[in-house]
Symmetry: C2
Subunit: 384 residues, 2 copies
């Protein structure tokens, strides 16, 4: 089965060869053919080969499907009251995570899967075609393992985040909790995960603990990533660079040394502006990172506590309004950047051989994602 | 034909009698009956009368349809490039309006109507059931009259805004343009309009011109409203209060005297936070106005220049994040507040006798509109 998409107002390829000097590799003359879940041809519409079906984009923009490299979708309950209190002046603290842990533990597997399914469908409607899902609201051997089993039903990009916060049962014995995470919990989680992650932050895990947990995960065949420098400067970003991790997420508070370390290591800085929106923390500067030569991704961090948006279009608009990024940089960061943050080259681009994951906008150009904030502009997606 | 809506997780009535002390008059036990376009019954679900049809809300929130009291939907073209330049550092100036004037004049009636239809449908999908539409991109007798004729196909709340900026043909003769607006243009526009509006701002019209135009409009049977204090402090807000106008819109830069004048006059302050988002101007404080006793509305200002969002859910999220309003205050401002800004009591509330305009959220409470920013949460609307 092949599908020819034609009459495209603007095709964002993220392929530097498609339009030299243009970050997004935009073509305005192009058509695309998808065959059996893969992009099989990209070229001038006038040269398009025949296909089994034809889709007329009627002048609208076609983009790579968004790649959301950071979400926490396995949870139960919500924290709307905590959000309300925060908007009334209370500050965000990592400890609120424990509220969701209690609700998640009390939920059945089916309830958790239904929640993930609902949120994944919501993301899909907003243009996301690849997403990462973390555990981290189980915090027991069984609950972390089942969180990852549930997540794995929806994506291959699953991340073991037993080290989200110290489980309540270990409040007085954080070292004992690290032993649990690196021992039986890791053993139970590893078969269902690709990545291991640690929330390296005051109130969660310190540098030594993060090192220990990442080393254990690597030994178990997982790849490391980190939550770091969300609530203040700290050692997490430099640790990520030192270890050569693929990505480090949040990066809200960065010293110049942090920025240089990210650049030199080639570690992707994943910015999560929905968090700053929903916690009233200051936004990180995407401009500063890009100007320094750091690769930037933008992701949702969809979770019931610090950021309950699932919308990458919204995050793109924030990246432009609040983080000094151009619309092109923000769109790149939410597609090719997200792919880089997951170490992937088969998504986030529209090139022959890539997965057939595309997003159609109800708008003529990618700029409208920032120009029309909050408006549901995604007309449809195609997925492999 | 009657419809019973039941199993409502939260019914926002905006009826103080429904839940004393609660701004939104929230009921968690309620059902609603709609009969022939009118709310015919509101009460405890256990007491609900029989109806021809039953809709099961499955625990989701039902709100009054949003009332968007400020939009500029009669236009052609877009200004995505101007937006991009602004995000790259250029400042917003009222003069950019003339770009849209040229495109609008060049468009056919059918093209203008198709654009309005598309944007009205987009608003409806985001929960707006009543909207105001202004002219103001014609700036000639014929183009203003036809803009209002087109707008009137979609709403009774049409506003003559010939005094948006001075038409390009009168760049050297602003007094001549005021004569045109108050003379033949008003005569041609008045049959199709309910309101008359003036952009009272440096670069547009000054206090004396605004007075003259509003007086002429009032003499022609229109009700006055104003754009004022968007780009800096000025006389517009005090003029609106002095004239006892129903509403004055923007109110971004206010002195204490302005705030007191609004309170004393009972003039609604309509805040348009999408404009500040899209121009990077500082946000006005909704908190300050509410604490001072001023009635606050929140509207979209959907237009291709300073703010191309059509989403009241997005504006509600901004009102909470950026303007110090609680989720309840923001939801009230976008429904009952918008109704007050249009001098209406038949919309913006769910009470017997009101129009059957309701919005169903894919969420259990109104708080989620702020808690889940950017997410398309409107499941459906009902309209009279």
């Amino acid at each position: 089965m092949s599908l020819l998409i034609t009459n495209i107002g603007e095709l964002v390829t993220n392929d530097p060869a498609a339009a030299p000097g243009d970050l997004l590799g935009v073509r305005t003359d192009a058509a695309v053919v998808l065959t059996d879940g893969v992009v099989s041809w990209v070229g001038a519409a006038a040269d398009a080969p025949a296909a089994d079906e034809v889709f007329d984009a009627r002048g609208r923009a076609v983009l790579p499907g968004f790649v959301d490299s950071h979400s926490h979708l396995v949870f139960a309950g919500d924290r709307a009251l905590e959000f309300q209190a925060r908007m009334a002046g209370e500050s965000y603290a990592a400890g609120g995570i424990r509220t969701t842990v209690a609700a998640t533990r009390a939920a059945s597997d089916d309830q958790l899967a239904a929640g993930v399914a609902r949120h994944v469908a919501e993301m899909r409607r907003q243009g996301t075609t690849t997403l990462e899902i973390k555990s981290g609201y189980g915090l027991s051997v069984d609950d972390e393992a089942r969180s990852l089993r549930v997540a794995r039903e929806f994506t291959d990009e699953t991340t073991f985040l037993g080290a989200h916060v110290v489980a309540p049962e270990y409040a007085d014995d954080p070292a004992g909790y690290v032993d649990l995470v690196t021992g039986p919990m890791l053993a139970a989680a590893a078969p269902h995960a690709r990545w291991i992650d640690v929330f390296c932050e005051r109130g969660a895990f310190d540098e030594d603990q993060a090192r220990t947990i990442l080393a254990a995960g690597t030994a178990a065949g997982l790849k490391g990533r980190l939550h770091a420098n969300q609530l203040g400067e700290g050692p997490g970003v430099r640790l990520a660079a030192e270890l050569g991790l693929t990505a480090v997420d949040h990066c809200t508070y960065l010293s110049d040394d942090d920025v240089h370390a990210l650049r030199d290591a080639g570690t992707v800085a994943t910015l999560l502006p929905g968090v700053e929106f929903s916690t009233r923390h200051p936004y990180p500067s995407g401009r500063r990172l890009i100007d320094a030569g750091v690769t930037v991704a933008v992701a949702s961090d969809c979770n019931p506590g610090s950021c309950y948006t699932s919308s990458l279009p919204f995050c793109i608009a924030l990246a432009v309004r609040e983080m000094g990024m151009t619309p092109a940089e923000a769109v790149w960061a939410a597609s090719a950047g997200g792919a880089a943050a997951l170490g992937r080259t088969d998504v986030g681009r529209v090139v022959p051989g890539a997965r057939a994951d595309l997003t159609l906008l109800d708008a003529p150009t990618h700029v409208h994602l920032a120009y029309r904030p909050g408006v549901p502009l995604v007309a449809r997606t195609w997925t492999a």
